[in-house]
């Protein structure tokens, strides 16, 4: 019995310790918490931003969970988060499904890259649009297929099966990827289409950009598509892609900025625009703006002001964090337009 009592005491102590920490945990009692969720594509920069911003404003915490763009849209719709994030601008039907009006705020530009893990191949691969569509449709199944070898002379591609990796969750990265494939392949557009998640003809599913990068890293002879920073941070090789002008371009700041340049001046008022397969010799073909989705009306004043202030900071000071994380800054015209749009939040 005594031993048992001792056990109970210890357990009680542990529990009360826990409760004690719970009580003392939040750094300041009235720290506001804003919840957002969505795209994994900009997650590295968002988590950097929200961390920085928390350092500047100790009384505000912005909790961002990267559950995928589809999730961001869905949860904003159900009202369970204060803002959403997506790499896919909402289409008209989606906007109609919302019971309230949603504003798009582009934050940065990113590129989706084909990343691969082929043991023994150290050279950088070149991908034609046809090769990418073929691989993801399951028509090209070996690494030494003609469509790949002809674009990569001098590279000794193995005769191994290609392990195709795609996203298992609703994803803006998937939208950008399938949007691109739909533009370059009529067959793809008819059979698969574009969305945050599609009915994949082949492949393994990974959860989030993190999951896809993880699977590619762990699986030899695999190919996946991730946001550029995930390939860089994980030291995964990624290939160049032939753009609309017929040039093989590798994803980097300059080539992404070049793609954005094509629409900077003609940006529509609601910022909903696709820049995949952009014209111009220097443009990388698979890139996109990524958006914060903010309700037009936020009844709670403190929350509204906090979000507006954050947006302002993100568009000005925050932009300098983009480049170290391999995202491209917004073109100046777009920033100016957005700064004016902030006042639409009421």
């Amino acid at each position: 019995m005594r031993k048992f009592l001792a056990c109970v005491t210890v357990l009680g102590a542990v529990l009360s310790l826990g409760v004690g920490t719970v009580a003392s945990a939040p750094p300041s009692p009235d720290a506001a918490l804003i919840n957002g969720a969505g795209a994994t594509f900009p997650y590295p920069i968002y988590s950097k931003w929200f961390d920085e911003y928390h350092k500047l404003h100790g009384d505000l915490q912005i909790n961002y969970q990267s559950i995928g763009s589809g999730g961001g849209i869905r949860q904003l719709q159900s009202g369970t988060v204060d803002f959403g994030a997506s790499d896919m601008p909402l289409n008209d039907q989606m906007l109609n499904d919302f019971k309230f009006k949603v504003l798009h705020f582009p934050t940065v530009l990113g590129a989706v890259v084909p990343t691969y893990n082929i043991p023994g191949v150290s050279q950088e691969l070149k991908f034609t649009p046809e090769a990418l569509a073929g691989i993801y449709q399951g028509k090209i199944t070996k690494w030494n297929d003609g469509a790949l070898t002809s674009a990569n002379p001098g590279v000794n591609l193995p005769g191994e099966d290609i392990v195709v990796v795609h996203r298992s969750d609703g994803s803006g990265t998937t939208f950008v990827w399938t949007d691109y494939l739909s533009k370059v392949s009529q067959d793809w557009a008819n059979k698969v289409g574009k969305n945050t998640s599609v009915n994949w003809p082949v492949g393994l599913g990974g959860k989030g950009n993190e999951g896809v990068a993880g699977l590619v890293k762990q699986t030899p002879n695999s190919i996946g598509y991730v946001e550029l920073i995930y390939a860089i941070q994980n030291k995964l090789p990624y290939g160049s892609v032939r753009n609309a002008a017929g040039v093989f371009v590798k994803a980097e700041l300059s080539s992404v900025t070049a793609a954005a340049g094509s629409v900077a001046k003609s940006m529509p008022a609601d910022f909903r625009v696709s820049i995949t397969n952009a014209p111009g010799k220097a443009a990388y073909p698979i890139c996109s703006f990524t958006y914060l989705l903010v309700p037009e009306s936020i009844p709670e004043a403190s929350k509204r002001d906090a979000i507006k202030e954050f947006l302002h900071w993100m568009l000005t000071d925050g932009q300098k964090d983009a480049e170290p994380l391999a995202y491209a800054r917004l073109p100046k015209e777009v920033v100016d337009k957005e700064l004016r749009a902030i006042s639409e939040i009421k």
Partner: protein, 283 residues
Amino acid sequence: MNYRTLWRKSVNAVMFSLTGLATVLTVSVLFFILGYLVWYGGRAINWDFFTKLPKPVGETGGGMANAIVGSVKLLLLATLTGVPIGFMGGVYLAEFGGKTFSFLLRYTTDLLNGVPSIVMGIFAYTMVVLPMKHFSTLAGGLALGVMMIPIAVRSTEEFLRTVPVTLREGALALGACKWKAITTVVIPAAIRGILTGIILDLARVAGETAPLLFTAFNNRFWSPGWNQPTASLPVMIFTYAIAPYEDWHRQAWAAGLVLLGLVLLTNITARVVLARKLSSAAG
């Protein structure tokens, strides 16, 4: 010894060795798991793990302090909701139950026990998250609380039934009415067993991940109060394990070690106490 006997004897030997091998294999799985986690988790664990918040994606360092506190909060809430209901339900079954309703109740409890944990997540999402418009500690705690009910019911009922009839009759003979006999004699006699059962129950839900994915959700920071999303150890292990970052893998091992350590320790303690209780009841 003829050929046939020899054959039968060797079958006997071979088959029993095979069953022995099966036992050794099964038992060794636990030691493999433990060894692996201690090896990887032990190297990964440090003071930061218990005291720091997670770092932004891709940066090295940081810890899971918020997840540890989050798990404690979730379990506290689960206990506060699941245990009273389960306990009282158990008392009803053991002491008052009529025939039909008791049967129905036992069946329902079994049913509830069999509900896949992910389905419990859906339930809490539609019941709590959607109406309150918030992922929250509350939703996660309630999901876990409902999961605790069946075992709380069963262990309460079982241990109340082990209390000797003589004890009850003694109390009643002294003029106590039934509820008094129950609260002052029967429950105290069984309380050790019941508590142990409940602690085992708690250890079981401590590792549950699926019901938390879309109820408690996750949080990079501390979660103030009960109506905000919160981090928890199991969900952190899940997100960190499937991500590509080496440092996250390291922390997933550390979190795995902490979680497994707590669960096994509670289990071992509770089971030892239980075994002693049963043997003393028998003797």
